[in-house]
């Protein structure tokens, strides 16, 4: 099994970062849209747009914020990757 060179420290270090608890944040946007009774209503409207529509649009920036936080938490500081 182990005839390949052992993982270098950088790679194994990244393993732990990949398992960062910050990953749980990625569940936030999914949970916000997976339960329609939560947002299946007309009011409050925004610029005449019913809640159902603008709520789901509003989850997009929330998702972006969560993903960005997880990205920063799971990536080496200063490195480009």
């Amino acid at each position: 099994m182990a005839e390949r060179p052992a993982a270098d420290t950088a790679a194994s270090g990244r393993t732990s970062r990949d398992r960062s608890p910050a990953n749980w944040l990625l569940l936030v946007p999914i949970l916000l849209v997976i339960w329609p009774p939560l947002f299946n209503k007309i009011s409050p409207t925004l610029f005449g747009i019913p809640f159902f529509y603008w709520y789901q649009l509003a989850v997009i920036p929330i998702g972006v914020i969560c993903t960005t936080i997880v990205y920063r938490a799971t990536t080496r500081r200063g490195g480009r990757s």
Binding site: R4, G48, S81
Partner: protein, 551 residues
């Protein structure tokens, strides 16, 4: 005809410009040799954040999406908005799961999801099933892109098959010539045009139509008047489970489609993919706004063009543009939709061709194929795939492709245990995966088969069945003996059965000590990044696998 002259001229000019780009793309970030699948089929595996953003965006948000999602909103209301949560759900999944495919593929030189399954579970049978599923699911998707172009041409008053044949011949020629670099370069133009058109559309059209409230009241009035109890600007009580499962199932299916995998594997490193998962939702926002064009069309009183007695809902967006915009801008909008068809069609045909070459041709027909022969075979296969899609639209009823696309989403979902869960764990027995796949396929086909398409003629009366089979993705739970009118996404039922069968069969096979496949991957390979020495360890032994991006 003359009323559309300006539109047609602008459309043709942009189309010709983009086709030129497609050919020039072969010289872009040129590799020493295109005679390798990593070059032709994955663009050198070296695309940075911006290119990946345009490529994957161009890949996932297709021309068919642009015409079909608003058409669905136009016809059914809120249920059509599932496309938004669907694209919200997909990115976290990619962030956590598909990125592992990037790493392990770069260590082992995998080009397709089926390559991965073969290595992970030591099963060339399961790999073949994944490859066939991928090819079958992708082909109707390519055909549907033609429907997007057709809707635009119809609106401009251009009829006949020749324009579509010419468009596809051009597409086939530059894909053959430039590989994945062609759609990557064209995607820049496509997305710039699409963003321009949608942003102008959502600012300009509502202002002209008296604001958002008047648009939503018009939609509400239409659905209240319609005898169908399922439509409306909110979801009906029986449609909510369908909405959620369709969004979730479609998201899982999307990341299993071979063309999404191709887009992700072409990225330079893990950071590129992660940054993109934060950046790609910009397209979701666009899609969420674009879907509302369906309601604007209701407010504007758009009547879909009828062909052969049947109204073609896909023409409502082009018609809305035609009606609302000055003709020069309508021309740009039409070109944006048509070019929007070319990018995904090219990537899909490349992905399907790679599956054929790696998992059928090299596995079963010519095991000693050199990298150059593999690349050549893939180029030819991409031509065949596109020709098949073209014939499916021109010779067979386009409805056939729409049905197949519906089935395609359900069947590609059946590769979730082997590809998706396989990236997280090697627990499944290869025999269990095969059993699960078979069970999922049977259930998937059955649920779609027993789902009729219906129309409501009068309120309170039972609907008339317009089509007995493959009438939609909403499977009635009452068919399972449950006392409810709720529907659920057919693919969701199938994948639940698939996973359960795979688990039970794995336990049985383990208990019976049936020999399992050998996993050639290691835990740490799923997190390897570009600076990892093993990542360039591609198995071909050819000189050109050295980092091509440095040239």
């Amino acid at each position: 005809m003359s009323a559309h002259t300006v539109e047609i001229v602008i459309f043709v000019v942009l189309f010709v410009f983009v086709s030129g780009l497609g050919f020039v793309a072969a010289r872009w970030r040129r590799a020493e040799s295109m005679e390798h699948l990593d070059e032709w089929g994955l663009g050198g595996r070296n695309f940075g954040s911006w290119v990946t953003w345009f490529l994957v965006g161009g890949d996932l948000y297709t021309a068919y999406t642009f015409v079909a999602v608003p058409a669905l909103m136009f016809g059914a209301g809120a249920a059509g908005y599932f496309a938004l949560p669907y694209t919200i759900i997909v990115y976290p999944i990619v962030f956590l799961v598909l990125i592992r495919l990037w790493s392990v593929s770069h260590v082992h030189g995998y080009v397709t999801p089926a390559d991965f399954v073969r290595g992970r579970f030591g099963s060339s049978t399961m790999a073949l099933l994944v490859a066939i599923t991928g090819i079958v699911a992708t082909m109707p998707y390519i055909a549907l892109q033609l429907i997007g172009i057709e809707a635009v041409l119809k609106t401009m008053g251009v009829t006949g098959n020749w324009p579509i044949i010419i468009a596809f011949v051009v597409l086939a020629a530059y894909t053959y010539n430039s590989g994945l670099r062609a759609p990557a370069l064209i995607a820049f133009v496509k997305d710039a045009l699409i963003y321009l058109v949608i942003i102008v559309a959502v600012l300009y059209i509502p202002a002209k139509l008296g604001g958002w409230s008047s648009i939503f009241s018009a939609a509400d009035a239409k659905f209240t008047k319609s005898p169908n109890p399922g439509d409306g600007i909110l979801l009906g009580p029986n449609g909510q489970l369908q909405y959620a499962t369709l969004a979730l199932g479609s998201a899982l299916a999307l990341f299993l489609y071979p063309h999404s995998v191709t887009g992700v594997l072409a990225a330079r490193d893990r950071g590129t993919i992660k940054r993109n998962m934060a950046g790609l939702p910009a397209y979701s926002f666009l899609l969420g706004l674009l879907a509302l064009l369906g309601y604007m069309a209701i407010r504007a009183g758009v009547k879909p063009i009828t062909t052969g007695g049947k109204p073609d809902g896909n023409t409502i967006v082009p018609l809305l543009f035609d009606q609302m915009f000055p003709s020069w801008f309508a021309g740009i909008a039409f070109a944006a939709i048509a070019i929007g068809a070319l990018v995904p069609a090219a990537i899909m045909s490349i992905a399907a061709a790679n599956l054929w070459t790696r998992n059928v041709y090299k596995e079963y027909i010519k095991p000693d194929a050199t990298p150059a022969q593999e690349a050549q075979m893939s180029k030819l296969a991409s031509l065949v795939v596109k020709l098949g899609a073209l014939l499916a639209i021109l010779v067979i009823d386009p409805q056939f492709s729409i049905d197949l696309q519906l089935i395609g989403g359900v069947i590609i979902l059946q590769t979730l245990p082997s590809v998706g869960l396989g990236l997280l764990s090697s627990w499944f027995h290869r025999g269990g995966l095969i059993a699960g796949w078979i069970a999922g396929m049977i259930v998937g086909f059955w649920t779609l088969w027993v789902t009729p398409a219906v129309t409501y003629t009068a309120a309170g009366k039972p609907p008339t069945v317009t089509k007995d089979h493959f009438g939609g993705s909403g499977f009635a739970l009452s068919k399972l003996g449950l006392d409810t009118k709720m529907t659920i996404y057919a693919g969701f039922v199938a994948i639940v059965v698939n996973v359960l069968v795979a688990i039970v069969a794995t336990l049985i096979l383990r208990a019976a000590h049936v020999e399992d496949g050998v996993d050639e991957t290691r835990v740490d390979e799923y997190v390897a990044d570009r600076d990892d020495a093993r990542v360039h360890d591609l198995p071909s032994g050819e000189g050109e696998v050295a980092p091509v991006g440095s040239t």
